[in-house]
């Protein structure tokens, strides 16, 4: 069926179904995308100080082509270009003033009285009308993504259409008991959907089973480096930090040490409790691999009902010596015929489902661009390898143009055998930050990153 996408209201595009969204012809798609971007820029340019500044510097007054757009995409580092010290000192007026340049909401009107923690700051902003998601990259410094409640409905529908595309199952019609190897709550962007859309995804929070019922504290993540340094000097008690937070950190480190055993016990109980039922198994690939391998070693196999889903993310990032056949091991143990994955980045609301042929496809509401070595826009044809940039058309309250830290291989022509149209990327995605040098290049200069056992534990790398 032919659908009609209006450039004025891209937030409504995810309301269409998977098949329709991936059937839009290229010429039509690209024309409506460019028009939507043009309108968005004209509306936001003078209202977002950070965007205005970049546009002025780059001499971009209007957008006539993606060549103009790529010059004014924010590097992903812009979402964390505040000095770490203001976060460590919990200087909320400065932090708020910093964030104010990145959102349409007038944050000068937020009452900052009585705030003691980063979590409480995030919650205060959420009461005001934003939805803040954090992300910690390879450096551990937190990014803050200021989404708005005005984007919530587009976010929800894009999330549901993503799930349906990635798994073939409409979660609204089939609310499955779901497992996740993470924490129950937290402000990390990757954890937001399971909290915001629990009703739509699982039929309610009660149907989501997490390894830990605790909260992943943004304060602990933000302050972990500082706390580790203070602890090394025996000065942890001298930091101006809520003692409760110090205790929480101690408990989480303790918990991290037990994590492999906890996960084993937790999973074995789920295997029994849900035997014969249709379930959705989620979590980090590395965790699922460990559980699967440990199970197979004991001669066990999961015995869930046919049609159960294994939906993973995170690749094998935190598990360096994974065997080549880790996916096979997960599939064998859980009795799944495939793993359902998607690719996303916290700067963008929409994410990309994996198709039957093993590519991640972009929905029309996310416009991918490929960037060459010198920041130039690579031709939008054939196969291109380079840095991924994208424009998020669902972003109405913040600037949706971002340059990621990922190297991807993009296929621009609508020729995927799966039948879905739209640009798509291969599954091999590399982070530029991890490609520089490797472990074999030895130099005398640099700074050893302080060993931060807390982050290792909570990120599951230990």
């Amino acid at each position: 069926m032919t659908i009609s996408l209006l450039p004025e209201t891209p937030g409504a595009w995810p309301e269409f179904g998977v098949a329709d969204l991936f059937a839009v012809e290229r010429a039509e798609r690209e024309a409506v995308q460019l028009e939507a971007i043009r309108l968005r820029f004209a509306r936001l340019r003078d209202k977002l100080p950070a965007l205005r500044k970049l546009a002025e510097k780059q001499g971009v007054a209007q957008i006539d082509s993606l060549q103009d757009l790529i010059k004014i995409c924010f590097d992903h580092r812009v979402m964390k270009n505040y000095p770490l010290a203001i976060l460590e000192n919990r200087d909320f007026p400065k932090l708020t003033a910093w964030l104010d340049k990145l959102t349409l909401h007038d944050l000068s009107r937020v009452d900052l009285g009585g705030l003691k923690s980063i979590d409480s700051w995030i919650e205060r902003l959420q009461d005001f009308g934003l939805i803040i998601g954090t992300s910690s990259g390879t450096t551990g410094k937190l990014s803050f993504m200021p989404r708005s409640k005005s984007e919530l409905s587009a976010w929800r529908s894009s999330w549901l259409v993503l799930q349906e595309a990635a798994t073939g199952v409409d979660p609204l019609a089939n609310p499955l008991p779901s497992f996740s190897t993470g924490y129950r709550s937290g402000h990390q962007m990757a954890m937001k959907p399971s909290q915001l859309f629990a009703q739509e995804m699982y039929g309610g929070r009660h149907n989501l089973y997490t390894l830990y019922n605790g909260h992943m504290s943004a304060d602990l993540m933000a302050l972990s480096g500082k706390m580790q340094a203070a602890e090394d000097k025996g000065e942890l008690d001298r930091l101006d930090i809520d003692p409760e937070l110090i205790e929480q950190r101690r408990q989480m480190i303790e918990q991290g040490r037990r994590r492999p055993q906890d996960m084993q016990i937790w999973f074995e109980k789920l295997l029994t409790d849900f035997r014969g039922q249709r379930v959705r198994i989620g979590g980090m690939s590395a965790d699922l691999y460990r559980v699967a391998q440990a199970g197979l070693d004991k001669g066990l196999k999961a015995d869930f009902a046919p049609g159960s889903l294994v939906a993973t993310g995170g690749g094998m990032k935190s598990y360096k010596n994974a065997p080549d056949n880790w996916q096979e091991i997960i599939k064998t143990f859980f009795g799944a015929d495939r793993l359902h994955t998607f690719y996303g980045f916290s700067e963008s609301i929409g994410s990309q489902p994996e198709c039957a042929c093993g590519f991640y496809h972009f929905f029309p509401f996310t416009v991918p661009m490929m960037m060459g070595k010198d920041g130039e826009l690579l031709p939008r044809q054939g196969v291109q390898k380079g840095r991924l940039a994208a424009f998020d058309l669902l972003a109405e309250s913040f600037w949706g143009g971002f340059v990621t830290g990922d190297e991807v291989t993009m296929h621009f022509d609508d020729d995927c055998p799966c039948g879905w149209k739209g640009p798509r990327i291969e599954k091999t995605i590399r982070r530029y930050s991890e490609m520089e040098g490797g472990d074999d290049k030895i130099t005398c200069a640099g700074s050893v990153k302080a060993y931060d056992e807390f982050m290792d534990y909570v990120m599951g790398a230990a």
């Binding site: 000095p83 380079g386 074999d440 030895i442 130099t443 200069a445």
Partner: protein, 486 residues
């Protein structure tokens, strides 16, 4: 992206005077920077060519007077002229391709090789550290007793050197210090410089393959973290001492195999900085002088070395008037970079994408930072508050971060054993902070001035410890012989 195929370099294993080239039946390939590819013999098949399982075979070196060792090194020096030495030319070409340093700097470094082997320099170094008589004889200690006398001798060891590749002089330095300790030396080359050590030792083999010094050098590449190699080589029966350069990854590989009986000298990555007193902001002349000093301290080796200043703490307030002065100081540092002589420091051949992105990202935040320049010409970031940029560890390509501090001593808490070289202006400040810096782990202080080029070019003091370590003295074993007076 370096996906285009680079040139294929053939790298032999060098083993005690023998050159073992890779062959089609005995080879492994690996890749380095800038897409270069290398082919070397499979090190797994040559363990016994690399290690000295029988320490008794050190006898020949032990019996050789240190003067003969120095004669040998001094004769090697003149053969290390870039213009005449094809091995060095190959290593030089590769180093240029890899792009760590620009051509004028690289040329200068290679041109400095022969002088490193100057006999007078070697002699001064050995006398100021181990002492030649300790290497050649049993030296009586204290007064001779009627029944017993204590004699001490410095004895050669079997050493593994896991070297760094960011500055090519690490390789000849390793050769010199290895030979001066009358030891058996195995050099594991890094992927970012697999050729320089090979070039120096090959020249040695061409000169005299049967000389005892040559007979105790082996050079090979294997991949860092190759646990088979590490387990085979790092055994108390085969290695006594290890010098390991590099960061956490490199150190962790080694530590896995450390056992009692193996001594580790770690040359871990260092970070250097400068401290500038309020005097520098009080007159134009002082400002000029200190700024030039900072440009030199940061610009040397184009800021690729551990001794290169990256963060500059300046005694200054953070009010608008003080910040205006600080920015003026930053402008002068930037101008200083542009005025450095090309043999000493140059613009980069290519931008540093990651650092460039960090600079462009904080440039948008003018509440917190003032940014000038880029990763080609060099640059200056002035913090408008009392804190350094969060990517200070990435500062490179002649980009410094200038940080105001009301009280300079408030930065002492950040000093630890990673602080390699600390540039200071003025002299009085150096004297005031010297001991406070020392006890926290700092290793070297340097006066910031426009004369600094001459000072750093003049060469190090022969006995200067490296990274707070008396490396030479640690790489030999010290044996006691107690017995009746002769």
């Amino acid at each position: 992206m370096g996906s285009e195929m680079g040139r294929l370099y053939e790298i032999p294993i060098l083993s005690r005077g023998r050159v073992i080239p890779p062959t089609d039946d005995d080879c492994v390939e690996f890749s380095g920077r800038a897409g270069a590819r290398f082919r070397c013999p499979d090190p797994h098949k040559h363990i016994h060519d690399l290690v000295l399982g029988d320490a008794g075979r050190l006898q020949d070196l032990h019996d050789l007077p240190i003067a003969k060792v120095m004669d040998f090194l001094a004769a090697l020096g003149p053969r290390l002229k870039l213009a005449d030495n094809p091995y060095l030319q190959e290593s030089y070409d590769l180093a240029l391709e890899a792009g760590g340093l620009t051509k004028p700097l690289m040329t200068r470094l290679y041109d400095s090789l022969p002088a490193m082997f100057d006999r007078a320099r070697l002699e001064a170094r050995i006398e100021a550290t181990i002492g030649s008589r300790y290497l050649d004889s049993w030296v009586p200690q204290g007064t001779e007793g009627p029944a017993s006398t204590v004699r001490i001798r410095a004895v050669g060891s079997r050493q593994l050197h896991i070297t760094a590749g960011n500055v090519p002089i690490v390789a000849p330095q390793t050769v010199i210090s290895g030979a001066l300790t009358k030891s058996d030396i195995l050099i594991k080359t890094p992927s970012n410089d697999p050729l320089t050590a090979t070039a120096v030792v090959r020249t040695m083999i061409d000169m005299d393959p049967d000389h005892p010094v040559t007979r105790h050098f082996a050079v090979a590449y294997w991949k860092g973290g190759d646990s088979v190699m590490d387990a085979e080589v790092i055994r108390p029966s085969r290695i006594d001492k290890i010098t390991a350069w590099g960061g956490m990854a490199s150190m962790q590989h080694v530590q896995k195999h450390l056992k009692p009986g193996i001594d580790l000298v770690s040359a871990n990555p260092k970070f250097s900085l400068s401290l500038v007193g309020h005097e520098a902001l009080e007159s134009d002349e002082a400002m000029q002088e200190a700024a030039m000093g900072v440009a030199i301290a940061a610009g040397r080796f184009n800021q690729t070395a551990c001794a290169s200043t990256r963060v500059v703490y300046v005694e200054s307030g953070t009010d608008e008037e003080s910040l205006a002065k600080l920015i003026r100081f930053g402008e002068l540092v930037y101008e200083g970079f542009q005025s450095l002589p090309p043999h000493f420091s140059t613009p980069a051949d290519e931008p540093n994408p990651s650092l460039e992105a960090e600079m462009r990202a904080i440039e948008m935040e003018d509440d917190f930072y003032w940014v000038k320049g880029d990763t080609v010409k060099g640059g200056v970031i002035v913090s408008r508050f009392e804190g350094r940029v969060d990517f200070a560890g990435e500062l490179n390509n002649r980009v410094v971060n200038i940080v105001p501090l009301e009280d300079l001593t408030s930065m002492l808490g950040t000093i630890d054993d990673q602080a390699q070289t600390i540039g200071v202006y003025p002299t009085a400040l150096r004297l005031r902070l010297r001991d406070q810096l020392a006890i926290r782990g700092a290793q070297r202080m340097l006066p910031l001035s426009s004369q600094l080029i001459d000072a750093v070019e003049g060469g190090a003091v022969p006995a200067a410890p490296h990274d707070g370590n008396e490396t030479l003295r640690r790489m030999v074993r010290w044996m006691i012989d107690q017995g009746p007076a002769a």
